[in-house]
């Protein structure tokens, strides 16, 4: 990707010179997308809203992982572990009984900080290992995490799990139903509010991630990924930055965990197994390594497809029912993701983000040739 970025940039500026109005296209598209996201809860039913909130929660974690894998070049299969730390951290801190009874906003922040701290504890290992080695080693954390979730019963509730206190600010619940009110005739229950909470958190995550990737730390991560020796020759403290990348990505995973916990309202150890780590990796890869927008799209695809397939299959007899041993929705969507990953890596390692960019350039490229044609 880094090799092709220079001609792309030249291309883009040429286009910009030729058509100054195109500067507005991007902000305009973003504004339209935001408005659409904001009014969707007025039209979608509870099930679709749930799928949306879960997807956005996953997207926050995927953004963290894309920074680690794509920007810093460090593979991690431990993302599910840090999401679990965030989720259970919040559940414990916010719970009025069997917990610390903190105000939810503070508890959410606490969950993220604990996840980041867990990342910091692992960073002596993370900072020393390079890409592949770290990925293989980090697998261990998922299994250790499962053990802790099952055995630290006072905090995690063991195998049976524990419920999650709804999020509220000064008594106004943002992931629960009280106090009740409605907008334009649509009652705003738990799902509608959760949608906005997830949307707001996702926007904050995107803003922070772009801030990190496009500024000094992001450039340092990329430099370390491409050439460790050159990076340290330029005065970048390689170990510190690698550790930092791991801590940042853990904090994002923690945020995703808190949101997932709120959206599920109940946590069990199965939610945070190796499967989740692999799903996070699938999201990041389908979206395109290192691309924040791609991670969001990937998260939506990976989270929503099995659920949509399941609800679609319930109405038709195209897919087998769950537990029947046939091709049920979960199996079909897993095979789809697997195939998508394999094909994307073979055909376009940049993922959907790169494919989208190419398509975009072709659309604009047509514009450039036509302006060149007319003197």
């Amino acid at each position: 990707m880094s090799k092709t970025s220079i001609p792309d940039a030249v291309d883009a500026s040429a286009v910009r010179l030729a058509r100054p109005t195109s500067v507005w296209t991007r902000p305009l598209l973003i504004a339209v997308a935001l408005v659409v996201m904001a009014v969707l809860p007025l039209y979608l039913d509870a099930q679709m809203l749930k799928i949306g909130s879960w997807s956005m929660a996953a997207a926050v974690g995927a953004i963290g992982l894309t920074m680690l894998v794509g920007t810093a070049g460090q593979l991690s299969l431990a993302h599910a572990f840090f999401a679990a730390v965030g989720a259970y951290g919040y559940a414990f801190l916010a719970a009025p009984e069997n917990g610390a009874a903190w105000p939810p906003a503070l508890a959410a922040l606490g969950g993220i900080v604990i996840a980041a701290f867990a990342g910091l504890l692992f960073s002596p290992v993370a900072a020393r290992l390079r890409g592949l080695y770290l990925g293989v080693a980090s697998l261990g954390l998922v299994f250790i995490g499962q053990h802790l979730l099952k055995n630290l019963v006072p905090v995690t509730g063991g195998v049976n799990g524990r419920s999650v206190t709804p999020f509220d600010i000064f008594g106004f619940q943002l992931s629960g139903g009280s106090p009740a009110f409605s907008v334009a005739g649509v009652p705003f229950g738990a799902q509608e509010r959760m949608w906005y909470l997830a949307l707001f958190s996702l926007l904050v995550a995107i803003y922070l991630a772009n801030g990190i990737i496009k500024r000094r730390p992001g450039r340092a991560f990329t430099m370390i990924r491409d050439n460790q020796a050159a990076a340290s020759a330029l005065g970048i403290n390689v170990q510190q930055y690698k550790a930092a990348a791991f801590v940042i990505s853990s904090a994002f995973a923690g945020g995703a965990g808190v949101l997932t916990g709120l959206a599920y309202a109940y946590l069990t150890p199965q939610n945070f197994g190796l499967g989740l780590s692999i799903n996070f990796l699938a999201m990041v890869l389908i979206g395109g390594l290192g691309s924040v927008g791609g991670a969001v799209v990937g998260a939506v695809i990976v989270t929503a497809t099995p659920l949509l397939l399941a609800s679609f299959a319930a109405g038709s007899n195209l897919l087998a029912e769950g537990g029947s041993g046939g091709y049920e929705a979960g199996t079909v969507s897993s095979i789809l993701f697997g195939a998508l990953i394999v094909i994307l890596i073979i055909v376009e390692p940049g993922g959907l983000a790169r494919l989208g960019q190419r398509l975009w350039q072709r659309v604009r490229g047509a514009g450039v040739t036509s302006t060149k044609g007319t003197p």
Binding site: L129, G135, G140, A282, G325, S334
Partner: protein
């Protein structure tokens, strides 16, 4: 449990883990790809064995299962080879994609059953040096050691082994000397797949109840062995396997006095050992230290 019994059981589990670790390392050395779909390859071998062991007997079925796993691994190698060469991180993630597909299909096939291979040893036990151990574990230890010895003999003494080692040491020069890199990577994957299947077949025997649909995770239990021994060292894989096998067996058998660490501490003890090990020696016992030439 007597100490001698624990050690024999630990060594035989270690031989199984050593085989899986060796299969990871063989593929890694041959192609610089860490095959995360290895667990699925293993379970496909076990599944084929289980399906055939009724009609054609255990030994024929085991041979068929091992061949099936080797063939599957060779197919995976060809798929990985389609991707643009270079970034091993991305190629390793590609194997995650393959793993997702294989896990979905094998768990659909297996469902909620336990896959058993119908071996002739059943639940018999034998008394060795005053310790009672399952016959299957003794067979596993012997077969494991024989296979490992054969592996090293082939890699040290035959022309085939020299080709493999030369390609692993310096792929470009080896290619210039007329060694087909395509057949080297195919053989590495096929050998790796076959070894994983052997280990899987032993893991599906007594005292285990068989493999369930999450059996592919058992291959990941050998990853601490790979890391402890060193990612690119065959000797390390064996030593790592033995260390991990003994550790897990010892911790499991003294679990009652380690109650405060929680239920099932034995199963995760290899991972804890691995992380402690990484703090002291990040490149493993025999692994090559990463050197950077500027």
């Amino acid at each position: 449990m007597k100490l001698i019994q624990v050690i024999i059981l630990g060594l035989s589990l270690g031989a199984i883990y050593g085989l899986i670790a060796l299969s990871f390392v063989t593929i890694f050395k041959g192609t610089k790809v860490f095959n995360l779909a290895q667990g699925s390859v293993m379970i496909v071998g076990v599944y084929v064995t289980a399906q055939l062991s009724g009609p054609i007997g255990f030994f024929g079925a085991a041979a068929a299962g091992i061949l099936a796993a080797a063939l599957l691994a060779a197919i995976l190698d060809r798929i990985v080879a389609l991707a643009p060469r270079g970034d091993h991180l991305v190629l390793t993630i590609l194997t995650v994609g393959l793993d997702i597909i294989l896990v979905a299909e094998t768990s659909r096939l297996i469902g909620t059953k336990f896959v058993t291979v119908g071996d002739p040893w059943g639940s018999q036990t034998i008394t060795l040096l005053g310790a009672t151990v399952p016959v299957t574990r003794v067979v596993a230890l012997v077969v494991g050691l024989v296979l490992i010895a054969a592996f090293f003999l082939v890699f040290r003494k035959t022309r085939f082994g020299i080709r493999m080692r030369a390609s692993s040491a310096d792929p470009e020069t080896a290619a210039l000397m007329g060694i087909s890199q395509r057949s080297v990577s195919l053989s590495a994957w096929a050998i790796g797949g076959g070894m994983a299947a052997v280990a899987g077949i032993f893991l599906a025997m007594f005292p285990n109840p068989g493999l369930d649909s999450s059996g592919h995770l058992l291959a990941f239990h050998a990853i601490p062995a790979v890391i402890i021994g060193g990612l690119d060292s065959s000797e390390g894989a064996i030593l790592g396997g033995l260390i991990v096998g003994v550790t897990q067996t010892v911790v499991t058998s003294y679990a009652s006095s380690l109650r405060f660490l929680g239920e099932g501490i034995g199963d995760i003890s290899p991972y804890i050992l691995m992380i402690l090990f990484l703090l002291v020696r990040p490149s493993g016992i025999f692994g090559t230290k990463e050197l950077v030439r500027v």
